[in-house]
Amino acid sequence: MQIFPRSLNYLPLVAAVGVALLGGGVTFGIWYYFSPKNTQTGYAPEQPVPYSHKLHAGELGIDCRYCHANIERSQEAMIPPTQACMGCHAIVKKDSPKLAAIRGSWAGGTPVEWVRVHRVADYAYFDHSVHLAAGVGCVSCHGRVDQMDVVRQDQPLSMGWCLECHRDPTPNLRPKDQITNMTWTPTAEQAAQFAQATVKGPEHCSGCHR
């Protein structure tokens, strides 16, 4: 008596192959699409103040360190105090509606609640100053901020991504005086010189995790 259709004969095979593929597919999918490369890059939240780096850093050509002061001396990103904005905007564009929040903060002494864009993974103690000291430019991690109206995360900031550079920083090294230059490209001899550079990021755990 035939209780199963003939077509079922290949079922076991198909099932076996299917399961194998599915397993592989899921692994790949998670590894690839759930990695910060896909989940983090491109994150560009709306900020309380429509501040445009494109205008300030790009067109006006204000150096990063004018607002992000102390960044060469501290681990912190140094989001500038309202004071820094008012430094100019007490005179320039002093009643622009866009700057209402700034003026409010300055008057009321309440901080502007900027939305964090770049966030290194938990438990990683990232230090800006030492990277600048090593000659890694802003653009290497933050991208062409001078072209961004709204700041977006440009790089994955994942551990693997960090390690790539820690293992071979050469492509990201530049003269200390060009740190904030967004458009700097090495000349042939500079490239050669940096290829010789001995500077290297730590690759051991405690280099970043404490």
């Binding site: 490369k37 983090q40 230090d127």
Partner: protein, 1010 residues
Amino acid sequence: MSSEENTTGMTRTTRTTTDRVAWRSLEEKVDPSRLKDEACGSDVVKQHVGAEELFQLNRRKFLTLSGAIGTLASVEGCIRRPVENILPYTDMPEYVNPGVPSHYATAVSEGGEVLGIVSTSYEGRPTKLEGNPEHPTSRGATSMWVQSSILDLYDHERLRGPRQNGAPSDFASFDKFFSEKIATLKQKGGAGLYILTQPTFSPTYVRTRQLVVDRLPSSRIAVYTPVPNSNAREAARLALGVPAHAIYDYSRAKVVLALDSDFLGTDPGSTLSSRQFANAREMESAAGSMNRLYSVEPTLSVTGSNADHRLRLPAQDIARYARALAAELTSLGVELGQVGSSVKGAQTEGIPEQWIKSVARDLYKNRGQCLIVAGPRQPVAVHALTYALNRALGNSGKTVTFTEPVDAQEPENFDSLKTLVSMINAGRVDTLVILGGNPVYDAPADLNFAEALKKVPTSITFSAYSDETASLSTWQIPRAHELESWGDQQSTRGDYSVQQPLIAPLWGGRTDAEVLAQIAGEPNWRAYDLVKTTVETRGIKGEVAWRKLLHKGISDTRFGAVLGSTPLRDAEIAAAVQRLGSVAPLPANTFEAVFTVDNKILDGRYANNSWLQELPDPITRITWDNAALFSPTTAKQLEIKNGDMVRIKHGDRAIDIVAWLQPGTAAQSIILPLGWGRKQAGTVGNNKGFNVYPLRTLAAPHFISGVTVEKLNKKYALAQTQEHDSMEGRPLAIDATLAEYKNTPNFPEYKSPDPHQTPLWRMQDYSTGEQWGMNIDLNTCTGCGACAIACQAENNVPVVGKTEVARGREMHWLRIDRYYIGDDADEPEVAFQPVACVHCETAPCENVCPVAATSHSPSGLNDQAYNRCIGTRYCMNNCPYKVRRFNFLNYNQEIPETVQMQKNPNVTVRFRGVIEKCTYCVQRIEGARINARRQGRTEVRDSDVDAACSQACASGSITFGNLNDPNSKVARKRKSDRSYALLSEIGTRPRTRFLGKIRNPNPEMNTVKS
């Protein structure tokens, strides 16, 4: 994928609409970032069109594909991690540099001495205290109490504002009430006003108090603290005619005789004493010489456990011993004058002869470079006698000198409290202002202070907590913590420091000086003004000098005259010694109770400090409790076992307390540590241990003979961190006598040899770069425990509580192993051995971790990546030193906000389920490395970095640094012939090495036994 790529990708597609485009990756086909936008509701159509042009597939296939990715992307893109905000300053203070700590010099007065300290603050939030290297009393070191005072500062259970009759009030209404009250009192010249304060080292305080005395002449001042150093002080008054501090210099003493003195532990100024003692004990090589310490005491103290010879004597017999010794010294030709006659015919029953003859001879041999010191428990006469002996032995000006105290008017402690109480009972006290202290809890029981306090019409208590005393007062006002207020301190040596607030008072709060100034009616009664005035009256004038004083943390000039040359008044001393009479030895089967200041929480002031509660007692290794200590033989006679509850009676007073068998306890002494059994200390301190104050009376505040012990058939569980006391004959804490050392200088390595076989695999090359290492010199380590607390403060080490400790789950990264040597349970030799992760070069823990959460750094650190650890605990098993700690539960749950402020921002707070351990303070190392790079240096200098434990260690036993730097402290110490590796035979090649302990017994005394 960078923005450029996208754009090129898209442009390429728009350019070539007909022919198929090859793509390198999926994103190029469909740009996820755009899909994110889409999902987030930006233009959908354009996307699809562009994409469809991009690859000529049939629409169905495409939609499924993009759909899939689209949803994926949208899920991620929109609701990414919780949105975080960054709140910058609006107007940033000039000197603040977020993320970079700033350091402030200040001072704290701790248990009878002033310590200069330097604080580390992040954005105005002090997280750690270190000793001020410029300050002679600390010399960069700290005690466990200083280290843990930072936790007290943030204690969320402190009094949070004024309370009137227990009901919350505010400063405004208090000040109104207070000023009116003072006004009324002023009319009577202050009559009926009593001020109860504590001994002080603050010139400003003394000055303001003088103002009160001058302006309200009929007001009265009482001074009380439960465990004062007043006997020494009164003795000085007796011997010199003026009140004075006796200042000892242990670094110049070849022989030290401690009479019931714990100068390395709980006695005032132990931080400096430890440093000096270590200097005299340190051995560069076998050729060098070291000091010798005799200790005569009823209980095994930290000092006694470091002694070369130790004699167990009931506290009451110490006087007898002192007299016998004095008599022996006179017979050796030491000129004692009248005092000599007073000590004749001293009873020597129960005192081994050699302890009189040999010790006397040893002291005599070392005239001018020996020292006899008596402890605060001993009566005035004994102190006076020691002064006389020291002078007669030619030590004055060398190892002993006297200085003028800050507060010359300080009355005798117990008398002044007694007067106060009698005044209250006589109804002569209308207003009582209590500045700190907790007399309701710790006043002598027969004074019945609680009842007295209730009789006072208006009592105003300035206290950090709503404690036993404050809660009985009409007004309870927050008393500012030393670290959050302006003040000044002058050490017994006369070094003057200004205390600057490290943070605004968390719950408001007044300083003692402020209150006094208010009473005196000073218009500018704010602490800052008061201190500034004092500073100027002391001749430090002008802004520059002021700032220099603040910056340096200590004045250039010393205050308080040295009274070295003042002659001793023999007649008075002799009279006192005569009055002391010859104490009869305790008859058999009678006991004396000795009230000792607790090794951790002192007189109870630190009861609510969880770090100190959990720190194992240096000797008993008990946490979270105290216990009545019995000598093992006595306990056997009384059929008492560890953990039995006993009732200790004296007259009609009795206390119930748990018994503990403590080797080294005098046979007829029962040791009762003070400061426990608090009822209103806070959630940490309440009902921990047993309160022994009820047994303490004015007549005998330090020890009483004739107590009886009754065994109750109840048990009480104590939590110890170390349950096994013997080394089982293993070469762990290796020691030798001086003679043995001179014969075999490398005795430790001889006992614990290094296996010189090479491992199977190729070793990492450690010859270059910084290579971190540590030495721990067992010879100078006193086992005090400051390092353990320093580590806890620096590394956010959690507190787990009594039950978890009992389960064997304490988290201390740095523990101090305490071993007893010798077979006589009553006469143990003690060896201390601090053990933290020793950072093995071939670490057993590293191979076994399945996820590589612990691995080696190029500079020889055994790294532990908490966020990689999955908690198999395999490393913990495989660690021969058992220094790895596992978060069995979430020990960091629900930390009060203020306590969170203490956490070191550069150290991860660990979650449950992960292993943690000593990292050699890697955050400091990395900080120093980053600093060096910032300054364009490739190497870290030896001076740049120090571990928390070695920085705190007063005796300088712990040295840390770069082994590859031949001039570093650590490298030099490494060369010592006493250097050995713990458990070296396993071949772990630890980076922390120990230096063998040396004992220096008197060849004349064949045995240390009594």
